[in-house]
């Protein structure tokens, strides 16, 4: 297995003056409650959402510190404060342990450093400080407002589960655990981001995945040293193989079923807290053209739709440039009748075809972008303006020809056919250089652009896996599930990604047939 390793950069000077802790001994909690509390009041000065609640148990002083809005206050009151404050008999020897044992909460963690206390508070676990104790106790009663599980917005489908990932990482992992019940499903936790300390989980099926892949993902994650991770895109852009490529080298999904399917095929997930998008690696070019419904519907349908997607990929990439090439260089290519109607439509258009295409394509891109960013109420106005003014008025005024409008609209629709938004963006971007190639060298330019594109895709790798595999590496079993979608009972082998792998997916001879004796 060949994995290009990122060069280890020399680590910059650590920013140490965030928390007034520089040595390990200073980090330890002291036995004196007032010293501990003073540390926290200094640390959290000007933070109105931090709550300090001092109370006494008999004559033992205690303080609870928590973040308002992140912890379950009802439980804190009923289960912790009420239980502890009602204790009268505190003359035992092992007083602190017996007090903690009496709190009816399942998840109580003993912590002994300030850093751990800070992390616990930030994650919504109230900490309980007792006078005379060298340790604090993090109480696992986290509760905060979160979005409920909804239908995935960006990956809709007709058939299939309607649950989508949410912004909460524990919900997301539970959604996957609910599908894959085997203990071989592993989840390794990392924290990325100096200030956000975002929880990142690498998930994989042990035994199905290549361990070098997991190591490589861990290495690349550990290398990341940034202020914060706000979306999966932050992680994606730091772990790519070729950061200059216009193509996505990591897939993202908000569907637990897609994530689980990829786990079962020996890929790894990178689940990130705070975003419903989970990353999948490694990925190949052809997996960007697959949708979950290819597998849920009959295989004829799946195969047909996949063919369809590749045809429209070609249209989305090349139609405007082919139009430029034909109208500028190879008019003889069109059948006579079609040529006449195109020629008459183009008569009186003041621009050469390439300028015409660029005007229309740029306008279309602008309209599309405007439609996404604007508030919904204005969005409809934009589309009306676009359709009427750009479409009809421009043709009537003789600025652009009607065939041009048709070409641009077909191109636009084709680029929506790609099931993954990220590759759709790449296609949008690449269309423009190809138009220039066509403007310079006609159809030969288009072909040269195609070759350059294929060369680039051939040299691309995603975590060591060739981007164009399994087609251009000619793996027979892989071809069954790329351009075609063979029947599920024929997909006996997992896709071969890298190195040694666990090949057999299911027993063969699974083809359903009526019982022979009956027939």
């Amino acid at each position: 297995m060949r994995i290009r390793r990122h060069p280890q950069k020399k680590k910059g000077k650590e920013d140490t003056n965030r928390v007034p802790i520089s040595t390990k001994s200073q980090d330890l909690l002291t036995e004196r409650l007032d010293a501990n509390v003073k540390f926290f009041t200094d640390l959290y000065k000007d933070s109105s959402d931090i709550v300090f609640r001092p109370f006494t148990i008999g004559n033992l002083k205690a303080v609870v510190i928590y973040l308002d809005g992140l912890s379950d206050i009802e439980k804190l009151d009923e289960l912790v404060l009420e239980t502890l404050m009602n204790k009268q008999d505190i003359s035992q020897t092992d007083i602190i342990q017996s007090l903690i044992d009496s709190i009816p909460i399942s998840n109580i963690k003993k912590i002994s450093t300030y850093t751990e206390c800070i992390d616990a508070v930030a994650n919504g676990n109230p900490i309980l400080l007792l006078d005379g104790a060298k340790e604090a106790y993090a109480l696992g009663i986290v509760k905060y407002e979160k979005r409920s599980i909804e239908e995935p917005a960006a990956e809709t489908g007709i058939r299939g589960p309607r649950e989508g990932f949410t912004e909460s990482i524990s919900v997301n992992t539970s959604l996957i655990r609910r599908i894959i019940k085997d203990p071989q499903l592993k989840m390794k936790t990392f924290h990325v981001g100096k200030y956000t300390k975002t929880k990142v989980i690498v998930s994989y099926m042990e035994g199905l995945v290549d361990q070098t892949l997991i190591k490589e993902i861990e290495n690349r994650l550990n290398r990341i040293n940034i202020d914060g991770v706000l979306e999966s895109g932050y992680i994606e852009q730091f772990i790519e193989d070729n950061p200059f490529s216009p193509f996505p080298q990591v897939l993202y999904t908000e569907r637990p079923d897609v994530a689980s399917a990829n786990l079962l095929e020996g890929r790894a997930l990178i689940i990130i807290d705070g975003t419903p998008y989970t990353l999948i690696a490694p990925v190949s070019f052809f997996s960007l053209f697959q949708s979950q419904e290819d597998y849920y519907e009959r295989f004829w349908i799946g195969t047909f739709i996949r063919f369809f997607r590749f045809i429209f990929l070609g249209i989305a990439l090349f139609l405007p440039s082919i139009y430029v090439a034909i109208t500028t260089f190879h008019q003889e290519m069109l059948p006579m009748a079609l040529l006449l109607s195109v020629a008459s439509a183009r008569e009186g258009i003041p621009f050469p075809a390439i300028i015409e295409v660029l005007i229309m394509e740029l306008t279309f891109e602008a309209l599309r972008e405007a439609g996404i960013r604007l508030p919904k109420q204005i969005g409809s106005a934009v589309s009306i303006v676009g359709a009427l003014v750009i479409g009809q008025a421009a043709v009537q005024a003789g600025i652009v020809s009607a065939p041009m409008v048709i070409v641009v609209s077909i191109t636009g629709i084709s680029s929506f056919l790609v099931p993954r938004y990220s590759i759709g963006l790449s296609i949008r971007l690449l269309r423009f250089p190809i138009i220039f190639f066509a403007g310079f060298l006609g159809i030969i330019g288009v072909i040269l652009a195609l070759i350059i594109l294929v060369i680039h895709l051939s040299s691309l790798r995603s975590f060591g896996v060739p981007y164009l595999s399994p087609v251009s590496t000619l793996q027979k079993n892989g071809l069954k599930d790329t351009i075609f979608r063979s029947p599920l009972w024929k997909l006996d082998f997992r896709p071969h990604l890298t190195g040694e792998f666990n090949a057999v997916r299911q027993s063969d001879n699974l083809k359903p047939s009526p019982d022979k004796e009956e027939g």
């Binding site: 006609g442 072909i447 294929v454 051939s458 164009l468 087609v471 590496t473």
Partner: protein, 364 residues
């Protein structure tokens, strides 16, 4: 010394080598065939392929005797450092010259049929630079690119089937009108193309399954033979021996396709896909030349050789041949002797020396 670190599969090798042979062959070989073999031109590729089988066998035997080495490496062991280096230099010059001629053919065809007003330099350089880009990526990248390019290139040959309504089988007769000699003459022309299978000597060491190399080389020859027969058959049965008067007979017959008055003008499609085939061919030759040059001068990275060599090849394409007439004469009269002597005869001598040496060392 292993300069190339990538490994490719036998299937990828086949898809690399097929367009390397046929992409220039289909352009004008039918014209020469029609002139030399007349009504028997459909069978010339079958006889011509013998050179292919011979060349691949020679190269394979040499590869078995010296596994993991290119001709540059083992020629020095076989015939001494000086003579071996001279042979290596000859190979590099030969590859550069041959690639120059391929570029010339390509540019001449595109210039006279598709891009009438574009300067020839732009046409030659654009394809050459794209090929150089692929070669700089290494053998694996060339192979992966070739899989897709060859697939698209070969799939357009289906278009010829649309000519079935115009096929006149009578054109095939009479068989052996002037005896067997014309067929041999035509086959001799084909042999020069089939001898280009010699370039496999630069791929065999980099197969990930070295045992299947010979079989897959032979399979590639059969495919090439079949495609050339297929093309010659359609040329012969649609326009007959008149094809000898045309420079580009295949282009002419594709141009004549017209179905339902809408499915016509396939020549652009064919030309476009033919560019893909030519790209693979030029990339293959450029790769072999760069690898040989780097190995001869003991440079660890052949990538630095690619761009200077491309420029060199570009000059070759303008030095030697000045127009289409000369090109066709070259292909009919010089190329058969030239290509076969470098790519089949010299390797044959190398193999004989190698076998003699082996026998002597076995006796000792």
């Amino acid at each position: 010394m292993m300069i190339e670190k990538g490994r490719i599969s036998t299937g990828q090798m086949e898809l690399l080598i097929i367009p390397t042979i046929i992409s220039t062959a289909i352009l004008s070989i039918s014209s020469i065939d029609a002139r030399l073999a007349g009504h028997d031109m459909w069978m010339t590729p079958i006889l011509g392929s013998s050179a292919g089988f011979l060349t691949v066998y020679i190269v394979w035997k040499l590869h078995e005797l010296y596994p993991g080495q290119t001709p540059i490496g083992y020629s020095q062991k076989l015939i001494g450092k000086v003579a071996g280096s001279l042979f290596g230099l000859l190979l590099i010059l030969f590859f550069s010259h041959n690639t120059g001629i391929i570029i010339r053919e390509y540019t001449g065809f595109i210039k006279s049929n598709v891009l009438l007003q574009t300067p020839s330099i732009v046409i030659s350089l654009s394809l050459l630079l794209v090929a150089a880009l692929a070669v700089r990526g290494g053998l694996e990248v060339i192979a992966r690119t070739a899989v897709i390019c060859t697939f698209l290139f070969l799939s357009t040959s289906i278009v010829l089937l649309l000519l079935i309504p115009e096929v006149e089988l009578g054109n095939v007769l009479p068989t052996f009108e002037n005896g067997f000699i014309p067929v041999l003459k035509g086959a001799f022309i084909h042999q020069s193309w089939f001898s280009e299978f010699f370039i496999l000597a630069f791929i065999f060491p980099f197969l990930n399954n070295t045992k299947k190399g010979l079989k897959s080389g032979f399979r590639a020859i059969l495919v090439v033979m079949f495609i050339l027969c297929y093309v010659n058959f359609f040329v012969l049965t649609t326009i007959g021996v008149v094809a000898g008067d045309l420079y580009y007979p295949v282009y002419a017959i594709v141009k004549s396709i017209s179905l339902a008055e809408f499915f016509e003008n396939f020549e652009i499609l064919i030309t476009a896909s033919w560019v893909l085939g030519n790209f693979v061919k030029i990339a293959m030759f450029l790769y072999a030349a760069s690898l040989a040059l780097a190995e001869l001068f003991r440079i660890n990275d052949y990538r630095v050789m690619v761009l200077p060599l491309s420029l060199f090849i570009f000059f070759f394409s303008y030095w030697d041949i000045s127009n289409v007439v000369e090109l066709v004469n070259y292909m009919g009269q010089i190329q058969p002797f030239y290509l076969i002597s470098v790519q089949t005869v010299i390797p044959l001598f190398l193999l004989l020396i190698a076998l003699l040496k082996k026998k002597r060392s076995d006796n000792n």
